[in-house]
Symmetry: C2
Subunit: 195 residues, 2 copies
Amino acid sequence: MITATQFLLERIKKHVTLTAAEEERLTEVCLVKQMKKKQFFLQEGDVQRYLVFVVNGCLRSYSVDENGFEHILQFAPPGWWISDMRSMLEQTPASLNIDAVDESEIILISIPDLERLYREVASLDRFFRILSERSIATHQHRLIDSLSLTAKERYTSFCRQYPSLITCLPQKFVASYIGITPEFLSKMLKEPIKK
Amino acid sequence: MITATQFLLERIKKHVTLTAAEEERLTEVCLVKQMKKKQFFLQEGDVQRYLVFVVNGCLRSYSVDENGFEHILQFAPPGWWISDMRSMLEQTPASLNIDAVDESEIILISIPDLERLYREVASLDRFFRILSERSIATHQHRLIDSLSLTAKERYTSFCRQYPSLITCLPQKFVASYIGITPEFLSKMLKEPIKK
DNA sequence: CGCGACGTTGATTTGCCTCAACGATTGTGG
DNA sequence: CCACAATCGTTGAGGCAAATCAACGTCGCG
């Protein structure tokens, strides 16, 4: 049984090395928080004042369009980070919402703490560089998918990329993520399997 | 009249500080290259062995689907970086193509040089962290746009974000970037201006 | 000049959406 | 523990945004 913060440290130490003192500094600024299903972490218009790491459960980020429809940008299962990056970097009102898909446990690091940490622990610059670069690679592929694939292909691609998520997400969340209506996804799934 | 490398250094020093020795190290590994219009920097299947910074002109990255249609992921005017991030990070065959939209001047840094630099110049971890985080913010908004906006709205959004590009790009490139056919963009632009 | 790339226009098709109705499941308060 | 409401997935009829396909004019360039 490991603690939330230990889980976070393990994740970081997969990519960079930390001294005991650095681990200590990091641990000090971590806030562990329990989230109930559907509980908001961030609402459109708020400023994102904390960086979020998911320990257990699952969060999602999404925007709501002028007609009230949700469009899911990201799911964050355990080990993932999630944010409205623009709001976090510029400390401006968010255009995204972030809430818990399931009961979840998360770690928060406040932005001022994070900035202090960057000064004290150089490895963190490196860690978040690596993390961000990987995130860009993921975003690039998602964008290419959305430009070049049909709805059915995007569904297949989603299942391939996130096999563990399909089982635990309501179907309408998947529809929202791949950019179609729940009705259309339902119809797609009824169809005979074609090569 | 400043050199290509000076332009790059200026860009970096907007976000981090560099010692004279560090500037020198960086300058040493920079390769300046001229690109003719339509010349490839990277083709699908190749491995991206250099990081690219655009000094003059404009590059683009795009994928080609099974029907031979191009889907443009990014334009890179002066001051921008461009890459197939997955290919660059994992040194695996690229799924994207990168070529010059116009005659261009670019700076290359080989991946082994870059990794050496990260060890020698800690500020570069920080610089590319900041750069990558901003890139994520941009990608997030692009994705939200593609999920929630109509073709017309995506066009408007593109014009707002890249006013300088609309004038110098062929219309079909813009269509490809926003995810519609050239024919449909042409029809959209003929329409009477509506509220 | 003549060829190829680009933008335009029209006719037709289609992938996906909209709206509405309905059953099954969940969860919630009495 | 049941009753009711809310949420979710399903199904069908009809509609629309955008794609497809084809033809044509224009321009820049070798």
